[in-house]
Symmetry: C2
Subunit: 644 residues, 2 copies
């Protein structure tokens, strides 16, 4: 084995480890040799042309490898993945190696031109694009089939030979980031650009959205406080508050698109071309020809998938929704029964019994949520989507609908069937506050505490055996490989989405909800930051230009909230009193107002441009330049052709 | 003068006239010489490198010029405008001269590779892109200022030196097209591909939409007939019809997008890259630097434009809408007064008087429409939009809103204020049928008759003076230059839009509307075809990928129609009878149904893909290929760099 590393040492004396590969214990020697050879092989020979080094401890190397790359290789990789960087003239352009001198801060010896997150992203991309040539299987594992063009890393992962690939933390940088992010108590914005440099665009955009959303809720909260303090119950004040809320929520969602464009333009992802998406690792089918690429790969009939979606998944989701509603009805029955029992035989036991239905319901909801999540993942996986993005969209849609119903069905029932505004306000407050506290605890603080305890134990064990100068790296790798994996921003966005629901759906009944949301989000920023920096493995950076399907989800929620708020206002006794003779006039007026508000919302969404004017200009300028370049080229050609 | 043409004759012995340029009588010789020189000049010297020939009659050449181009020049022009053509492997690709051999039907001696409409479009594009170099003004006309980069043709047009540029008809082709289009009575589709070859994509797409829309209305018409024949008045039948209509209208609009994608993919415009748009000819401002192109051109502050739009245009439009409503109220008062008069003193005179208000109202509406159209054009022009497209969008929006109100306000008033369903049905029928008959007459038949009379006179005059062998061309040019100019598809789409309103807004009251619409559209196809082939000058082809803002307009109409239909059904006595006790339940049920229908509409619009799967695949394939090409290029570069 050792000889294969020798040439590396001469090529690159200061090998900088970026990514860690952990193979299963007992992986066959021939497999390791083949895999590492493919990683270091020249591009022309179908390799990734990266550097790899086993992590040597006193017990041998334990099948853990460190991957790095030469500076030049990383620059060429940046071109392959289509990174967009700032030029000397402050415009953003797609990086190409031949035009490297025109980019800001570029120098042949400046190894910080690419951020560490970008380097790791490039290495991940190169590893994932390491494709089988003529191998029919992974050497040593005949059951792990390969076909020309199949991603080797994905096959190694699915066949269990490769346990994980993760990027290394940079202790120095992380310390600085932690300090500026949440290390000191301060009033101000998060260091979004630093977060982006360290964790990549997807995560930075989540924190950007969280921060923006918190600021956007402040006006609602400020206006909501006097309603609580002075116990305002006038009809016109409620209508004003609700109207303001509804229009405000449209404005903030539209403005977010603009802010998102500003951020992602600065980060370069707004201009990044979408890469061709490879099939996701779980995708299976008979070997065929992909009509787009013309390459051999598993093919699965789109009709079959549609049938599975509409004939199995859709009915299943509907059934689950029905079941969830059924459970809710049982809960209300239980509640009623406990109340009756308490009235009849009042005792300590009976007053305790009053809490039992709520507790049971909360537990059942939690269990249902978890079971449903597994079922949704199984079903979406069974639908056999070719692309990771379409898998994610279908999963998000399924989970979103169910969570929406689970969280809000009881509130809808209380509001529009029981007509009990007092109970609604009470339930809303309870649900909002308890869910916030539970979430923050379960999501960040508990894992943080567990991780800390685990780290201490690890450190003790490792320190006692210290033998090598390189120990700190070994220690770091061993610590990080045991950390949990951050599964993406899904749960974080879901939490915000449900919070937005609590704030906007019944805003005219409980104006204080925005206050709690703001308070929660301020601590949420800190606990999420803690989670990212301390609890989880460093995630790979994921370039992204927007928050994707969540924008749509939030917009849908804000449309639904127009309907619910109009209904609530229409049902309030104060409004009722305004139409003493004719209830029909009341209902018609409410319907009219609702339609007007919806129309205004759609017109506003249409009129407010999605990108600020200067970003539009910059994009137009880039487009113009590329058209001009094309034209110049054609002019030259034309002149030559006509001369002949 | 004559010497400048001499070299052309040697270059191209078979000069094929494609486009006619008519200069004002008495244009100065130096201007003509300069302009024609610029047209024939080499590309490298800033010319258009086209061929030009004066049209010689026995009276001299009367300032009419014929423009053509060599075959090679047209091919290079096709590359410049970015035409997309079919390749030998049946895929659509952007035409480039260097890859010309790979295109279907290409041969160096095949002059039909580009259609005549394409050649004319290329020449128009080249003429419009003929730009001033260092000229400060048009030679001979010091008041016609130029600056570097200003389009010469646009300045000539605005200063009145250039009267018109129009493409020539191809008598042979037109005859063939006429025959296959409307020459014989037949059942079948229009020859859309031939129309596209002759008139270009915008017009072909209009006829495609007209045909599709007619077919799409057939199911509504078929279902509507028995309602009329058997005088069905049951509640459930009406609800069924309305529900079907509402969902059907969503389906047809979504399916149209798919059909549109199929058509424009085949025609190549779906793949055509948007060219950088030059300022429209009426745009003015102080000379400045365009931030996008970096070139000198008039600049106008976007803020000023916004102020003009929101502070002047918007209030003006609102005022006009109010005025139109006011006129409508006067009409209803008059109507009532006439009715009262008729009741009191019944006589022949009084029964005639009953018609007077309607006639006056119809005339007033027509006058208001015309005045408003001028006002809208003036205002939109005064808003000083930089781009023709944004000018068009603002104009369309203004005219659309006003026309919508003018056409439907009285119907809304009858339906939702007077609650008179019988009158509604009657008014709807009258309005629909009279407007259809008037439109067809005013739009096609009258101009056709006028044109025919004019042509006969022209022919007589010209034939009596026949002197030249080239006479037929002279005759043709003289005839065509006097023909009216087709002002675009705006009025045709507007007519269809209003028709769609009549059919869908009150569909549950008057199911027969669809029948009339279908009948009208069948004759509309013929009369519009007649108009295009016989009445107007040949228009320049305009590549387009969709019907643009009209798609949005039709979709908005179909959303509004959900609201109106639900209200109408809710108001019908049959539904009323179902809720004898509680009118509130009725209103709530109707509102619920309405919201459900709207939700279904939006979900359907979201679920139905805008492009058929095979078109998606083909587009993905093209994108993949271009990504692959880029990657190959970078791989090569990488290999070289790493070798060094």
């Amino acid at each position: 084995m050792a000889k294969s590393w020798s040439f590396l040492d001469t090529v690159e004396c200061n090998f900088r480890p970026l990514v860690v590969i952990e193979l299963a214990k007992g992986t066959k020697e021939e497999t390791i040799e083949w895999f590492t050879k493919r990683i270091v092989d020249k591009k022309g020979d179908g390799g990734a042309q990266l550097l790899i080094k086993p992590l040597v401890t006193e017990n041998g190397h334990e099948n853990i490898y460190l991957v790095g790359a030469s500076h030049l290789r990383l620059l060429l990789g940046a071109e392959t993945v289509g990174l967009v960087k700032e030029c000397n003239d402050n415009s953003m352009r797609t990086f190409t190696y031949s035009s490297r001198k025109t980019f800001k801060d570029f120098a042949d010896d400046n190894h910080n031109f690419l951020t560490m997150a970008e380097c790791q992203y490039i290495i991940k991309h190169e590893l994932e694009n390491l494709r089988a040539k003529n191998e029919k299987m992974i050497p040593g594992y005949p059951q792990a089939k390969l076909y020309p063009g199949k991603s080797i890393v994905r096959r190694l992962l699915t066949s269990g030979i490769l346990i994980q690939i993760f990027p290394l933390h940079d202790r120095e940088e992380l310390k600085k980031l932690r300090h500026s992010w949440y290390g000191r108590v301060k009033v101000g914005y998060q260091p979004l650009d630093d977060i982006r440099c360290y964790f990549g665009e997807t995560i930075a955009l989540y924190f950007g959205f969280l921060e923006y959303f918190t600021f956007a809720l402040v006006p609602m909260a400020v206006i909501g406080i006097p309603y609580y303090v002075f116990a305002w119950e006038d009809y016109d004040k409620y209508v004003m508050f609700a109207t303001f809320n509804l229009l405000w929520s449209t404005v903030i969602l539209e403005v977010w698109k603009r802010i998102c464009a500003i951020l992602t333009y600065r980060w370069g992802t707004l201009l990044m071309k979408r890469q061709f998406e490879e099939p996701r690792s779980g995708f299976h089918g008979v070997l065929g020809i992909n009509p787009v690429t013309g390459r051999e790969e598993p093919v699965y009939s789109s009709l079959k998938r549609q049938l599975r979606i509409y004939l199995v998944s859709l009915p299943f989701v509907c059934l689950c929704l029905y079941f969830s509603l059924y459970v809710m009805m049982i809960y209300f029955d239980l509640e009623q029964w406990a109340l009756d029992y308490h009235k009849e035989n009042e005792s300590n036991f009976s007053s305790l019994l009053l809490y039992v239905p709520s507790i049971i319901y909360a537990v059942v909801i939690e269990i249902m949520n978890r079971i449903y999540r597994y079922a949704a993942e199984f079903l979406t996986s069974w639908e056999n989507h070719r692309l990771e993005s379409s898998y994610q969209n279908h999963l998000i849609l399924k989970v979103l609908v169910f969570n929406f119903l689970n969280c809000f069905a009881s509130l809808f029932y209380i509001a529009f069937v029981l007509f009990d505004m007092k109970l609604l306000r009470q339930s809303l407050a309870t649900l909002l506050i308890t869910s916030q506290i539970l979430n923050q605890f379960a999501e960040s603080l508990l894992p943080y505490w567990l991780q800390k305890r685990h780290n201490k134990r690890m450190k003790k064990r490792v320190c006692s055996q210290k033998t090598d100068a390189d120990m700190s790296l070994v220690e770091q790798v061993n610590m990080e490989k045991e950390m949990g994996t951050y599964l993406g921003t899904f749960d974080d966005y879901l939490e915000l989405f449900l919070q937005f629901g609590y704030v906007s759906l019944f805003s005219c009944v409980y104006p204080l909800a925005a206050v709690f949301a703001v308070l929660n989000n301020i601590t949420e920023i800190y606990s999420d930051a803690l989670k990212m920096c301390r609890v989880y493995k460093r995630p790979f950076a994921e370039p992204t230009a927007n928050i994707g399907v969540w924008q749509l989800a939030f917009e849908t929620m804000s449309v639904i909230s127009v309907v619910t708020n109009c209904m609530l206002i229409g049902m309030s006794p104060q409004v009722d009193a305004l139409f003493p003779d004719s209830k029909i006039d009341l209902v018609l007026t409410v319907a009219l107002v609702e339609h007007l508000l919806l129309a205004i919302k759609f017109i506003m969404a249409f009129v407010i441009p999605d990108k600020p004017r200067d970003i539009q200009m910059k994009l137009a300028k880039l487009e113009f330049e590329s058209l001009e370049a094309l034209k110049q080229q054609q002019m030259k050609l034309a002149a030559e052709s006509l001369k002949e």
